[in-house]
Amino acid sequence: MLEIKNLVCGYDNFLLKDINFKVNSSELVGIIGPNGSGKTTLIRAITKLVKPKEGKIIYQGKDITELSFKELAKEIAVVSQDVHFPDMVKVKDFVLLGRIPHFKKFQFLETNKDLEIVEEVMKLTGVLEIKDRFLKETSGGERQLVLITKALAQQPKLLLLDEPTAHLDITHKIKILDLIRRLNKKYGLTVLIVLHDLNLASQYCDRLILLKEGKIYKIGTPSEVLTYQIIEEVYQTVVVVKENPINLRPYVFLVSEEERRKFDYTD
């Protein structure tokens, strides 16, 4: 579905280099890596916010530079961190913004079909009961759900999420990731998700892409990527990795300086 070939892109002070990977249809792929390793830049490149200096990004056989912004928005939806929430807009009207890419030229009013889709995705994500609330009356967790609902209203085939669970409590973290997993399993939605929490990434993703200083350090299943050798090398910190008894996936324990001394965990 998405193929990235020899991609080089970025800004004056930061470059992503030699990025090569494929995302298959209906896969849930996580992007992990330390702060400043280029996770967000990679997402921005796929959505044409950053131009490639070299290499290609191919979406369903087409180079994305050949697709218009609107064509891209019909296929790929993004849940980004940099969103301004207009206070005095109601939840249902905000979700309706997701239909904009599907409006024809000189079409000003939404059709009944647009409204049905909005209703449907609101039911799916559970924001239907707060649809008449103003955005300023919603909590951080609800806003994140509303944002995902808006992205789903675009009816994308590929969903990109940039740390959708940052700053949320565990209830909302699980709720949102469960939702994404359900969309992925039940509706075959392809998902590329940036996560900071290694254990959540391990728990939910089919495959992980680990970035370090603008390069891909390792790609593979959670068990292949999340070994203590790799994590200690990339994150420059001491960890212990054990198998999570519930899902048999790797679970990363952080080790504090004191504990390191106590148990003599040294490099």
């Binding site: 916010l49 912004f69 891209l72 969103v83 301004h84 207009p86 009207d93 913004l97 000003f108």
Partner: protein, 329 residues
């Protein structure tokens, strides 16, 4: 959808009615009172002259300028996601003002005709936009905060330049500049009235085409991009549109403040944030508000006349403070 559409249409209908009432009131009231029946059937030539040669052009100009300023306000507020932005705070009005002043002082209009007024207004507005744009662009992207600050500074500088021009010019120019600066809808030249009307209506229509893009902008530029909007291109086009509207308005009617700030604010509270209705309703409300203010301006100390900018400043300013304190609670 039907419910929303009905809601929108009823707001438009109410606003159209209000504007019509204000228009007829403005035709009737003045140093010579005309009854309503006489409007449709004027009894003598003098009444006819007063109605159609003096009052009607002012009403048309008030309609066009009020609507255009409100539209420019909505566009700029939409782009900046900031309700305090309007042509004046970005320095667009100031820039247009300086160039119109230069036109008066250098008497360019005597050589090339009255068309030089809107052109000089537009050139000034456009130059300021380009200047502000260049000063606040970094790494190929427009920084909204920087732009706002630069705009405010430019509006200070341009009012100082206007002062400077007034200080060194001859006395006969001074009266023209002073009256023009405070804002007046008295425009003897019918060509300018017609042109302003045309530009204003065209501006509204073009801005309506961008109403969905402006809606997308309400959640940030990056989100607008993700919704398929060509952000940089749209921003540039809308800036040009706002500066044309402002430049033309300033050149024919002077600097009339608060219409572009207050009207969109009020309309947001009444009809909501959706630009598909906000643009149209703000246009109508701005038109009605300016005609009303102008009627007050020429009747309140009749037979003398106040500049309309004074009226919009007082009404607009006090209402704005009221709205702000109410919101803060």
């Amino acid at each position: 959808m039907n419910k929303k559409l009905v809601n929108w249409l009823s707001w438009l209908l109410i606003l159209i009615l209000v504007v019509l009432i204000v228009m007829f009131l403005s035709l009737c009231i003045g140093s010579v009172r005309v009854s309503l029946s006489q409007i449709f059937n004027p009894s003598d030539r003098i009444t006819k002259e007063i109605l159609f040669k003096i009052r009607l052009p002012r009403i048309i100009l008030g309609f066009a300028v009020g609507g255009a300023l409100a539209t420019a306000g909505v566009i700029l507020q939409g782009l900046f996601r900031n309700p305090l932005v309007e042509p004046y705070t970005l320095g667009i009005s100031g820039g247009a003002g300086v160039f119109v002043c230069l036109n008066i002082v250098l008497r360019i209009y005597q050589k090339f005709g009255v068309i030089t007024f809107p052109i000089s207004g537009f050139v000034g507005a456009g130059l300021v936009i380009i200047l502000v744009y260049i000063l606040s662009i970094k790494k190929g992207k427009l920084r909204i905060q920087g732009l706002l600050l630069t705009g405010v500074m430019i509006s200070f500088i341009s009012s100082s330049i206007i002062m400077l021009i007034m200080a060194i010019t001859r006395a006969e120019n001074l009266h023209g500049i002073v009256f023009w600066i405070m804002g007046s809808l008295e425009e003897p030249d019918m060509f300018l009235v017609k042109m302003t009307f045309l530009v204003s209506i065209l501006g509204l229509l073009i801005s309506c085409i961008f109403s969905l893009d402006l809606n997308a902008f309400s959640c940030g530029e990056e989100e607008a991009h993700h919704l398929g909007v060509d952000v940089e291109k749209t921003k540039k086009l809308l800036f040009i549109l706002a500066s044309v509207l402002t430049g033309v308005c300033v050149s024919v009617a002077g600097i009339i403040g608060f219409v572009g700030l207050l009207v969109p604010h009020l309309m947001r509270m009444l009809v909501g944030e959706d630009h598909r209705i906000l643009l149209l309703s703000s246009y109508l409300c701005g038109a009605g508000f300016l005609i009303f203010s102008d009627t007050l301006a020429r009747t309140i100390i009749s037979p003398l006349e106040l500049p309309v900018g004074v009226i919009t400043g007082i009404i607009g300013g006090s209402l704005f403070i009221y709205v702000l304190t109410k919101r803060g609670r």
